[in-house]
Symmetry: C2
Subunit: 331 residues, 2 copies
């Protein structure tokens, strides 16, 4: 499941139906069985087995290190274009710029959406203030791939249920696929990261009272910390929600220990204050790999360690986090 | 002078002679008179007035916000190519990719070096340890354009005078122009900043005992802090030198106050420790805009505030900083 972030996100939160999942290793089983969401959606071994389920789009949700296109996928994409499927691509490698795909796609009249393609207008952050009365919330994390997008989407959904004026701002490929727009900050030239996310956040604050922004990476991550800080300072949030997975002990993919939750709180509050002070007001845990009793104990421990409200927003709802944001936002 | 960073750097530290400076506003005067370095090098109003001084290269050292090519410069560059001059370009805009210049340059057999062109191989940081016994020093700053490159180059020069095994790693356009190679980290896609600078630093540590890396931006900068943290974590320095300009009160170009020197020390040490602990061991001041007595007072105040050795490495030499690094490096 840890490696199926995009599939889980798109099945759980996407606007379009998923008719089949392509994965040779688990073919024959169902999405609900293998990744815990999607119920009876079949997992198939290859494109041809997916066709009877009448897909209109091939969504490339793999996330290999570095974001390149694995050679084996060239063939699958070519065949999908040949079958008239649109392509939604989350890799760094832009398929619309790749003649092997761009030429037949144009000829067949199908669309290629490279969701990680950065905006054409590169902006330098202005440090302009947000509309008074708006509240920008950024989800931050102890590591990558730990639940920041999910926490922000659950907050947005809960705010919607409560009838609040609110929106979500996507900053990564899965969030953009789900929401239909956003800024792939990890794909932006480093000088422009803060400026490129600042613009849509300012616009969202003009229109909505609550703006939930998907965080990226972690301040402690040896490869991606720069993305995290650029995003934190470009978003200039008023309030932070800290995301963590209780069973995660080391930085994903590295032999480095994760800091404690209280060290995370201190680091994010210090780094935010370099630009605009923002307290961490709650903890969102990702307990998908724990039994329910264990998950409840993990939530209680996180609340005790940080002195903050904690929950797993998927499992137990985002209500307590939104309550805490509301109280903090009134101050 | 504040806006002539590249001219000052290339004239002071570059390997090639500068025969004339192109600047319409100050034409007729000398470089020594206007920017404080370069003695009798003439400042001329246009390319044609420079030609009698027999240049073989046009170096574009302007640094407009955003790094685009000002339209007025298209004409100058075209004429320079027509006169057979090679082009060295520090802008984000890549001239070798611009048909208006690439085609005539190829025809005329002249070279275009876009120093900010990022490396083609994009790397994710590995967090590999440096060679034991090597010492990596990163210059960090309270703001942009405050003396980080200069401090690192002065440390490298002083290490050379002492016969130490040492090298310099350039990370910005001026440093790359001076040193002939380097990584333009502000031009690298944000996901790859740490990994792209990690590789040359690891290689330098394998060959040299002291590696002086040019810092970029500042943790407090609303637009560029992400570059700063990505660089800090990719370089994973053992020791830091803090750079500051005593007369700078606000973030350059923004209505935001600069933090105190002791707040800078605390922030950089905290942020370094998220990846690899590194103390700030000295302060390098840029006192070009102070009289000598004032400069000495500023140095004394910085030493008192931080409890660290301080100097202006250009004005008073980098000796005390290298002494402090040597003592800290032995621990």
């Amino acid at each position: 499941v840890e490696d199926a972030k995009t599939a889980v996100g798109v099945i759980r939160y996407g606007r379009d139906d998923v008719v089949a999942v392509l994965d040779a290793r688990t073919a024959g089983r169902t999405a609900g069985d293998v990744i815990g969401v999607g119920g009876e959606i079949p997992i198939v071994a290859n494109l041809e087995e997916a066709l009877p389920h009448r897909p209109d789009t091939l969504l490339i949700g793999i996330a290999p290190r570095g974001g390149g296109l694995p050679p084996a996928w060239r063939d699958v994409i070519g065949r999908a274009i040949g079958r008239g499927l649109d392509i939604v691509n989350g890799l760094h490698h832009e398929l619309a710029e790749d003649p092997e795909f761009a030429v037949p796609a144009r000829r067949a009249g199908i669309a290629i959406w490279d969701v990680r393609r950065p905006p054409d207008d590169l902006r330098i952050a202005t440090a302009a203030p947000h509309r008074a009365g708006s509240r920008t919330v950024l989800t931050v994390g102890s590591d990558c791939n730990i639940g920041k997008m999910t926490a922000a989407l659950e907050l947005q959904a809960e705010a919607g249920r409560r009838g609040l004026s609110s929106t979500f701002v996507a900053t990564g490929q899965t969030g953009i696929m789900i929401w239909g727009e956003g800024v792939p900050v990890d794909r932006v030239i480093s000088d422009f990261v803060a400026g490129t996310i600042e613009a849509p956040v300012l616009a969202a604050c003009d229109r909505q009272d609550w703006v939930f922004v998907e965080g990226q990476g972690a301040l402690f991550h040896p490869a991606y910390s720069g993305v995290t800080l650029g995003l934190l300072h470009g978003v200039a949030p008023d309030l932070l929600v800290l995301c963590h997975q209780p069973t995660r002990r080391r930085v994903r993919g590295y032999d480095l220990p994760l800091p404690s939750l209280s060290a995370c709180v201190a680091a994010y509050e210090a780094a935010a204050a370099w630009r605009h002070p923002a307290p961490v007001v709650g903890v969102a845990l990702n307990t998908y790999d724990l039994a329910e009793a264990e998950a409840r104990r993990a939530v209680a421990r996180a609340a005790e360690e940080t002195g903050l409200p904690a929950t797993d927003p998927v499992r137990f709802g985002a209500g307590v986090l939104l309550d805490a944001l509301g109280r903090a936002g009134e101050r």
